[in-house]
């Protein structure tokens, strides 16, 4: 399989709504060994001025990777998922994600560069609430290894 060079500049519209739940925040926080009470205890979160439990800084990866799946699973993209390596990741938070948020993500393919026999693909997910409030911008580069790499 070869990567379609015309992917660059392509966008995928917001897909299914992701409803941020309290138990998912607690589960994700435990899984990254986060201990701050604002992830677990509503009163502690409110004491810091938050509406509800606060998601850890990397929680948005759940929503971003669902958006990325639209590209990776697109037969037209030519990406072999078993040859994908995560190269870099960035989260810019416009505001913290909290329990009760209803999130959608619009995916943009910002860059496609040939690398050896494979390609480096940089995507950006613009995450907002269904009401249109921007919450996070995530960027991610994946290296799709060529057959000889």
């Amino acid at each position: 399989m070869t990567i379609n060079p015309e992917l660059q500049g392509r966008s995928y519209p917001a897909g299914d709504v992701y409803a941020v739940g309290r138990e998912k925040i607690r589960e994700f926080a435990r899984s990254v060994q986060a201990t701050h009470p604002a992830h677990f205890d509503i009163e502690a979160a409110r004491a810091l001025g938050h509406r509800d439990l606060v998601a850890p800084p990397t929680f948005a990866i759940i929503v971003a990777q669902r958006a990325d799946a639209q590209l990776i699973n697109d037969p037209d993209a030519g990406i072999d998922f078993t040859r994908v390596v995560h190269a870099d990741q960035r989260f810019i938070h416009h505001r913290a994600i909290v329990a009760g948020d209803q999130l959608v993500a619009e995916l943009h393919v910002d860059q496609v560069r040939a690398m050896g026999g494979g390609a480096m693909i940089t995507t950006r997910a613009e995450i907002s609430t269904v009401e249109g409030e921007k919450t996070a911008t995530t960027t991610s580069s994946i290296l799709v290894r060529g057959e000889e790499q």
Binding site: P57, T58, I92, A96
Partner: protein, 146 residues
């Protein structure tokens, strides 16, 4: 003990910690994140794609490393920008038969990399290593300092 911008200087140490990783922990992270790539839980599959063994999710390491910053600043929402490059895998030994024994230990330390008085932010530069070698490069967290 609130941290103030005026008290921060570039190069200042924010502390260090270690993260114990187990195979069970990776399964937990897989479930929590939805990333079920078998290289993170299936030894035979990992070796079959030329990895040295089961490796931690890069996003697990990134997510766990930032806890040092959160503990220091005191509010997870203060982290407004966080980025890294993933350079080396963290291989996690199977210690299932020895409960309490980590399969890998990741070392995390941080220093103040920059202070931006106009925006009331500070950049924390993290050093994240496993087996004496850096696994994250350019791991930087920008925090809002109230």
């Amino acid at each position: 003990m609130a941290i103030t911008l005026a008290a921060l200087t570039v190069g200042q140490d924010i502390g260090s910690t270690t993260v114990d990783v187990t195979r069970l922990g990776l399964v937990q992270y897989a479930g929590a994140s939805g990333d079920f790539n078998p290289i993170h839980w299936n030894e035979a599959f990992a070796r079959g794609v030329d990895l040295p063994g089961v490796i931690a999710h890069g996003m697990f390491t990134m997510g766990a490393a930032v806890q040092l910053v959160i503990d220091w600043i005191g509010d997870p929402a203060a982290v407004i920008d966080y980025q890294t490059r993933f350079t080396r895998p963290v291989t996690v030994e199977d210690t299932t038969a020895q409960p309490g024994t980590p399969g890998a230990v990741i070392e995390v330390s941080g220093v103040v990399g920059a202070v931006d008085a106009d925006n009331a932010t500070a950049r924390i530069d993290l050093t994240v290593s496993f087996g004496g070698q850096k696994v994250l490069v350019k791991a930087q967290a920008v925090v809002r300092v109230w």
